[in-house]
């Protein structure tokens, strides 16, 4: 009647201390704990909304307010020329930025806030920041619903290129998970990481093409500056999303390719760093 279980053998030597477990072993272990990941996502989602009277409405209200402010400023105070679907374009930028600004700080605290779990139970710790990112992404999905409503209101024509949008969001999500793994592991050792992350995200808002097009940066600044600017994957991804969803064009080869490369390498490095540091978590949290 009981489901047979294999008996895994585990051997840890001090020589491996500070070293990381084999990548394959971690991934296998994470796959075996996929039901735990689902439960962690639901836990995070539930405790965030259970004690709020307005609940999910907040996740729509926040970008709407910000959008209202930005649209008023850039329609009446500093009018912009020749930007089709300007409010939709800004909203798309805002929602993409929100993916970072919601997920990264939440993921940064994921290990520290689950100190009891880290000290007492054994499971792949990578699941902690990843689950928090995924639960915050659910909130972003609601905000994306808002984008869809705006696209309908502004009569944006539907094209086949829409199919590329989930892929572009996927790239951004990989980046967020990579940064989340890095920051959650580092914050166990340096508690200051949380504050660095917060101020960095504020700066990033202005250094990303949220309320201006990427082409402006390309036109007005030297090539080198543009090159550094697009190292931020948010820049390439926002531009790609706008092209695909609003202008029936393919993503810009250079900026999007850089975004993909930076996102994937951030994920790989974040995973490696986390796996290396996680052995000390129970001693430090």
């Amino acid at each position: 009647m009981d489901i047979p279980q294999q008996a895994p053998a585990r051997r840890v030597t001090s020589a491996e201390r500070g070293g990381a477990d084999r990548f394959g072993a971690i991934v296998t272990d994470m796959w075996a704990h996929r039901f735990a990941l689902r439960n962690l996502v639901m836990k995070d989602f539930r405790i965030r909304y259970r004690n709020m009277s307005l609940g999910m409405i907040w996740s729509v209200l926040n970008p709407l307010t910000m959008l209202g402010v930005l649209v008023v400023i850039f329609t009446y105070v500093y009018p912009q020329e020749g930007q089709a679907y300007f409010p939709v374009s800004v909203l798309l930028g805002l929602v993409s930025y929100n993916l970072l600004s919601l997920c990264i700080p939440a993921a940064t605290g994921a290990v520290l806030e689950n100190a009891a779990l880290v000290k007492k139970t054994v499971f792949p710790r990578q699941l902690l920041p990843i689950s928090v990112v995924l639960s915050q992404t659910l909130q972003i999905l609601v905000q994306l619903g808002l984008v869809v409503i705006f696209m309908v209101l502004f009569r944006v024509p539907v094209t086949v290129k829409f199919l590329l949008a989930p892929f572009i969001f996927g790239v951004l999500l990989l980046f967020v998970i990579g940064v989340g793994l890095t920051c959650s592991a580092l914050s166990v050792i340096f508690r200051d990481v949380r504050y660095i992350v917060e101020s960095y995200l504020t700066i990033l808002f202005w250094l990303s093409p949220v309320f201006y097009p990427l082409t402006i940066v390309h036109q007005k600044f030297p090539k080198l500056v543009f090159g550094v600017y697009v190292l931020n994957p948010l820049a390439g991804c926002i531009e790609a999303l706008r092209r695909v969803l609003l202008y029936d064009r393919y993503p810009d080869g250079v900026s999007f390719a850089i975004a993909v490369i930076v996102s994937v390498s951030t994920l790989v490095m974040g995973f490696a760093l986390f796996s290396r540091l996680q052995r000390r978590f129970a001693d430090l949290v």
């Binding site: 051997r11 840890v12 735990a36 139970t121 499971f123």
Partner: protein
């Protein structure tokens, strides 16, 4: 049934565990700055365990005794896999279920049901496995009436009951039990002991720590006495306990 393996369930070889007790809270940032300036950092090294070699066979039940701070919980953490040794090696064969500070992973805002699913899945169970055990877990904990109530409304005794119930139903080969007998009422303790006797009959490997292990003479055939991170005595339960009792007095 799988044949019983001849390799021991738990092997600790010359294990040492060192903690760095930094004097300041913001320790590592300071440490890095000081390292850059080639300064020495004021820190204390504390060996929680030193040169510990222990082997526990499959089906054996061992009690670990010693005063507060002797390293008992560190030893259990090493076997559970939450902490890693500074020196030596730890090998564990079989799935470990640690009943360490029961319900530590519980969240007060989640209901009993949600906490059962979260905790059991973290212990490595998949959905069909938890589904199959859910009724048993609830029945054992005697909390059927409160299962959809947030845990914040549970008494501490009720939380321990739920925690024990989840951990005891994971079908692990190795059970680590810490401070279980300090809480819970008499009838629940009797129930736990009956379950532990059942595990014993099933040839599960068990390690006990904490208050009340003196009463486990029917279960444990062996005891290990730790003193300041070292093994002082390791042998038949009654002998080691007798020596320990006379030493404490």
């Amino acid at each position: 049934m799988a044949p019983l393996s001849t390799t021991p369930a738990i092997v600790l070889e010359q294990v040492g565990k060192r903690y760095d007790l930094f004097k300041h809270k913001a320790f590592l940032m300071k440490e890095i700055f000081n390292r850059l300036l080639q300064k020495r950092v004021a820190r204390e090294l504390f060996w929680a365990l030193q040169n510990v070699s222990v082997s526990v066979d499959v089906g054996e039940s061992v009690a670990i005794i010693g005063r507060n701070g002797a390293g008992k919980s560190t030893l259990l953490g090493l076997v559970a896999g939450t902490i890693y040794p500074t020196l030596g090696s730890v090998s564990v064969t079989g799935r470990v279920s640690s009943l360490l500070e029961l319900g530590a992973g519980f969240h007060p805002d989640l209901t009993g049901r949600e906490n059962i699913y979260l905790n059991a899945s973290l212990l490595g169970l998949r959905k069909p496995e938890v589904d199959a055990r859910f009724e048993k877990i609830v029945a054992f904990s005697d909390l059927a009436d409160f299962i959809d109530v947030p845990l914040r409304n549970y008494s501490s005794g009720m939380q321990v009951r739920l925690g024990f119930s989840v951990a005891a139903h994971t079908n692990s080969e190795i059970l680590l039990v810490d401070e279980v007998f300090a809480v819970g009422d008499r009838s629940f303790q009797r129930k736990c002991l009956a379950l532990i006797a059942e595990f014993k009959a099933q040839k599960k490997t068990m390690v006990f720590v904490g208050h009340g292990v003196e009463g486990l003479w029917e279960i444990c055939e062996r005891a290990i006495w730790l003193e300041q991170g070292r093994v002082v005595a390791d042998g038949p339960f009654v002998d080691v306990l007798g020596r320990y009792a006379s030493d404490v007095r």
